[in-house]
């Protein structure tokens, strides 16, 4: 207790010296301290630091302490912070882990503390990534979101007579997609598609980017009402989806993992299409200019599906003043300079007003189709506390399937692993009990 007090004093002392003479007169007891744990690249660090300073200036007596944590060991740090009872007031987290954190009791609903204007401004996809399925409450928000789109070369596709879809509604069907790949292969393209296997074999990318194929074909990595993987992940439709992706690899259509993630635009354009995240646009555009065309992910079955989710902000149960934390988040998301910085780095909008403000994503922009997915086809990854196990099991299965293993066998193994973990945690109650 004593130590925490002295720590607090120390932080306040440090903060006041940084902020300057303006607050020197304030007594430590009156100052409200907000601890914010986040991860980001240098540009994000810079803009968040500036925003925090402005917030401090606008709210005398408040200090914002930034805890910048490179995303590499983020979960480990969260774990250690929980063990030591030292969670910050606001923490940034990777959206698919939200359910795990809420279930574990670290977070609190944020809607009461966030400006209504901001809440109303959130896209459907942004709301879904921050919502906990048990109480249907919002636990996190952010300015940005993410998606995956299909990239191609306008020239190449036109020459080959391949139709270029312009909206989620006229996305390629499965047959059209396969036909396009066949045409590309026949035209002498080295690899018809890059699925970015170069990102690695144990990476969130696999679940993030490939699960939509499963969902579009009418299945999922886990049943979202009974919360059982068995019977779903190893069901007929998922096996079919996995086999489809496997067949692409076996036909030599997919850029191999060790060829790097630049084959779509590297010299000679070895890859025809790219199944890439929204951030990939900037890379491709830098080399190919306006020849890059952005298309929606194909509609493999009855419905379209696309991924979403990024690093989002939540208020922890530790927050001494959740209202102040909410005030800061509202301030940050509406700060023009904060928005400008994200716009400059092609941030994928999670707020409607931010989209209208971003020429790249606004109607008529090159990435408009990608943004359209956020309202029409975005499906969050399963919001379940077992997500760490779900994604790992799925990643391992998909890798083995890509490497030639039997799809049914691998998916059954993954489903068993997931269900065993759920059982190991006594069902993660109240999950799987309602309905």
């Amino acid at each position: 207790m004593k130590m925490r007090l002295s720590n607090r004093l120390l932080t306040v002392l440090r903060a006041t010296t940084i902020v300057g003479a303006g607050f020197a007169g304030l007594s430590a007891a009156e100052a409200a301290n907000l601890k914010l744990m986040f991860q980001g690249d240098p540009y994000e660090v810079k803009i968040i630091t500036e925003t925090a300073k402005k917030f401090e200036a606008a709210n005398p007596g408040t200090t914002v302490e930034l805890i910048n944590t490179p995303h590499d060991a983020y979960n480990e740090k969260v774990g250690a912070a929980v063990s030591a009872g030292a969670l910050p007031d606001i923490m940034e987290l990777d959206a698919p882990f939200l359910a795990n954190y809420v279930w574990s009791g670290f977070l609190q609903p944020i809607a009461p503390y966030i400006d209504k204007a901001v809440l109303d401004d959130m896209t459907a996809s942004n709301i879904s990534q921050g919502t906990y399925p048990v109480d249907k409450q919002l636990y996190a928000t952010a300015l940005v979101d993410s998606t995956v789109a299909l990239y191609g070369s306008r020239k190449q596709l036109t020459e080959l007579g391949i139709r270029i879809p312009t909206s989620v509604d006229d996305a390629w069907t499965k047959d059209e997609f396969v036909a396009a790949l066949e045409k590309l292969a026949a035209s002498g393209v080295k690899w018809p598609i890059d699925l970015f296997r170069a990102y690695g074999t144990k990476t969130e990318w696999i679940t993030y980017a490939y699960e939509p194929v499963l969902v579009s074909m009418g299945c999922d990595v886990i049943d979202r009402t009974t919360w059982k993987a068995g019977g779903t992940l190893d069901g007929e439709k998922c096996v079919e989806a996995a086999k489809l992706l496997q067949s692409f690899v076996q036909k030599g259509w997919v850029v191999p993992q060790s060829a790097g993630g630049n084959q779509f635009y590297a010299e000679g354009r070895p890859a025809g299409l790219a199944w890439g995240g929204h951030w990939f646009y900037a890379e491709a555009k830098a080399q190919m200019g306006d020849d890059v065309v952005v298309m929606p992910l194909p509609k493999f079955g009855e419905k379209s599906a696309s991924p979403n989710g990024t690093w989002i902000y939540a208020i922890t149960k530790n927050a001494s003043d959740p209202a102040l934390a909410g005030k800061f988040l509202s301030f940050m998301l509406q700060d023009p300079e904060y928005r400008a910085a994200y716009r400059e780095h092609a941030g994928f909008p999670g707020l409607k007003s931010f989209a209208a403000d971003s020429p790249l994503y606004a109607s008529g922009g090159a990435m408009a189709v990608a943004f359209e997915q956020a309202s029409k086809s975005a499906v969050p990854r399963p919001p379940h506390p077992a997500y760490p196990t779900i994604t790992l099991a799925f990643q391992q299965a998909m890798n083995n399937i890509f490497d030639g293993a039997d799809a049914q066998e691998e998916l059954s193994k993954a489903a068993k692993k997931i269900d065993a973990d759920i059982e190991d945690n006594e069902g993660y109650a109240p999950f799987g009990q309602a309905n």
Binding site: D41, K46, L66, N68, P70, E76, D94, A259, G261, A286
Partner: protein
């Protein structure tokens, strides 16, 4: 320390006679070629750090173009420094240097002292302690990092220099290394010192340390590099810029969906320079130690 690295000493080190001129030239050329082959992968790093466009670096990867830059610029290096404010690299560098020097200084002293006792002391159970130490070296850092983090948090050392120095100063590896060196010291040297009535610390300090420069330099260099490149632990234990080392600062360039290759490469090159200087300074201690002369005389 420098007095012993005179020219005469250097010549005395050469085991064989000075070869004929032409063979010396061939040898020199062979070593040069070998060195260039070994170092060539690092050209890629330097070349990439001179390319301003991170997308160009990405596009060039995986071909020989990665080894070529058409319009070299130092812009990346400047940029890394201008992140100051958001990411104060000067501060990170200073932190890294502080951690490096304290760890190495303390490490060389503590480890050699312990190694001396294990090699020449009279305490019972020295062999067991040594075996246990080697055993502990087996424990992978990844497996203790979490209990260690909880421990550090509990004692209030989180986000401090101490948390990055204390766990690495004493090391089974370097105790073992110095031990292996100390036990080769001829018995006469030790006995001569005890006859003079010197206690263990005196013998260690004024007899063993001076003849152990090569191994102490080795420990300083290896421990220094290890400390300099520490990543996982400082990543977990630092929260603010107060004690954050440069290795963690660089990690920020590897964002979750984009990598700032240009800055990352420039920062990586910059990060290698101080430790290279550190190495070059210490490798001068690789001179024939007094053991050989002691044996001779």
């Amino acid at each position: 320390m420098t007095t012993i690295s005179g020219p005469a000493q250097m010549a005395a080190q050469t085991p064989s006679r000075v070869p004929r001129d032409w063979s010396a030239v061939i040898k020199f050329v062979a070593v040069l070629i070998l060195a260039l082959v070994i170092v060539s992968p690092l050209f890629l790093l330097v070349v990439a750090s001179l390319k301003a466009d991170r997308f160009q670096i990405l596009a060039d990867m995986g071909s020989f173009r990665a080894f070529w830059v058409s319009d070299p610029t130092l812009q990346n290096f400047r940029e890394v420094w201008t992140f100051s404010g958001a990411l104060p690299f000067g501060r990170y560098l200073l932190n890294s240097l502080v951690i490096l020097f304290v760890t190495v200084l303390g490490g060389v002293f503590l480890n050699s002292m312990a190694a001396f006792v294990l090699a020449w002391g009279r305490l019972p159970g020295r062999a067991i302690i040594l075996t246990a130490l080697i055993g502990l070296y087996i424990v992978p850092q990844e497996s203790i990092v979490l209990p260690l983090l909880t421990l550090v948090n509990r004692v209030g050392l989180s986000d401090s220099f101490a948390a990055q120095i204390l766990p690495f100063m004493a090391s089974p590896l370097y105790i073992f290394l110095i031990y292996q060196f100390f036990i080769q010291v001829p018995r006469d040297i030790y006995d001569a010192a005890t006859v003079d009535g010197a206690g263990p610390f005196r013998i260690y300090w004024s007899v063993f340390l001076p003849i152990s420069l090569p191994v102490l330099a080795t420990v300083a260099i290896l421990l220094g590099i290890e400390t300099w490149n520490q990543y996982l632990w400082p990543l977990m234990v630092t929260q603010t810029d107060r004690a954050r080392p440069i290795s963690v600062g660089i990690a920020s360039f590897f964002g979750h969906d984009s990598v700032y290759w240009n800055s990352a490469m420039a920062a990586s090159v910059m990060m290698m320079i101080p430790v290279l200087i550190f190495y070059l300074a210490f490798q001068k201690w690789f001179v024939s130690s007094f053991i050989s002369s002691a044996v001779k005389g």
